[in-house]
């Protein structure tokens, strides 16, 4: 019974000509936190042309909130579609504890854009481990944009003496006016 309902909803989401029907189908699928549903939702998110339906799919993915959602959304960070990338960041940020493990892996990705997205997710995670990971990014990452983003988030989090030292040293690793500015701003915020 459940399986036939899921099948029907997935079919409506894929093929129904009415945007409203596809949107409702996407929302109803939130009652079925199964891997095949997650797979279908993410595939439709990529193919769907209606922004309203895409937004419904994103809400459903957040409601389902499983490890499968996090893994599939992490793949969207490599998409050429900026909306998909930003939606993936939103999902990963909102699914804080579930996404932490995946985000840690993304910090080792060879693509600096993916590492930057991982930092953007970490910056919104309200967990102690996020601070430690951001400090490691500041100390070790080779891309100035990734380091600058981590510095900015650390500044916003308001930190301890050791973290201030980590941020201060970031400017010494690169000769870049933007990073110098980011470090100055972050240290000012940390003093408040």
């Amino acid at each position: 019974m459940k399986t036939s309902k899921v099948k029907k909803l997935m079919e409506i989401l894929s093929t129904h000509p009415e945007e409203r029907e596809r949107r409702y189908a996407a929302m109803e699928l939130s009652d079925f936190p199964r891997e095949d549903v997650v797979e279908h939702l993410v595939n439709r998110l990529v193919e769907e042309k209606s922004r309203a339906v895409q937004e419904a799919i994103v809400s459903t993915l957040i409601t389902i909130g499983t490890e499968a959602v996090v893994r599939r959304c992490a793949e969207l960070l490599r998409s050429e579609d900026a909306y998909l990338r930003n939606s993936a960041i939103e999902v990963l940020q909102l699914l804080q504890h579930t996404s932490l493990g995946v985000v840690k892996e993304l910090l080792q990705d060879p693509d600096p854009d993916v590492r930057l997205f991982a930092v953007n997710v970490l910056g919104e995670l309200k967990v102690k481990e996020a601070v430690e990971l951001l400090c490691r990014v500041v100390e070790e990452d080779e891309d100035v944009n990734v380091v600058a983003a981590a510095v900015e988030y650390l500044g916003e989090m308001g930190l301890r003496g050791d973290d201030r030292e980590t941020v201060r040293k970031a400017a010494e690793r690169f000769s870049d006016p933007f990073l110098e500015y980011a470090v100055e701003v972050a240290l000012r915020k940390m003093e408040v």
Binding site: E80, A82, Y83, R85, N86, I89, E90, P112, D113, L116, F117, N120, V144, N145, A148, A149, V151, E152, G155, D176, P177, F178, L179, Y181, A182, V185, A186
Partner: protein, 123 residues
């Protein structure tokens, strides 16, 4: 009369960085943290120039530029996209959306100033 620039970026540090560079050179700089705020401000104020990031929550920089170009007030206003995205496909999408120039972060202050002056027609 000074050139009025709207800087659109979700990072307050980036907004502050561009503002410090451009305002020292005499530009009047305003900011927005996302595409929706930028569109609201663009309706209220007459900007001469936009500097736009790509990856922002809810509305991407591409979408923002497309919407600016759809409004008759924004058709001819210069737009520079400045992003960490450095792929050819990103540049192409930026230019297709209507940007006049696509720069990759981080941008050195002198380069930002030089290009802004050229595109804004300021000597």
């Amino acid at each position: 009369m000074s050139v009025h620039i709207l800087v659109v970026d979700d990072s307050s540090t980036v907004r502050g960085y561009y503002t410090s560079i451009l305002s020292k050179a005499g530009f009047a700089v305003d900011h927005a943290a996302n595409g929706y705020e930028a569109l609201e401000k663009a309706v209220k104020f007459d900007y001469d120039f936009f500097i736009v990031d790509i990856n922002m929550p809810k509305m991407s920089g591409y979408e923002l530029v497309r919407q600016l170009r759809e409004d008759e007030r924004g058709v001819g206003v210069p737009v520079i996209i400045i992003s960490t995205e450095a792929k050819d496909s990103d540049r192409l999408e930026g230019y297709r959306a209507g940007a006049n120039l696509f720069l990759v972060k981080p941008v050195k202050p002198e380069r930002l100033l030089f290009l802004t002056k050229i595109i804004a027609g300021v000597r």
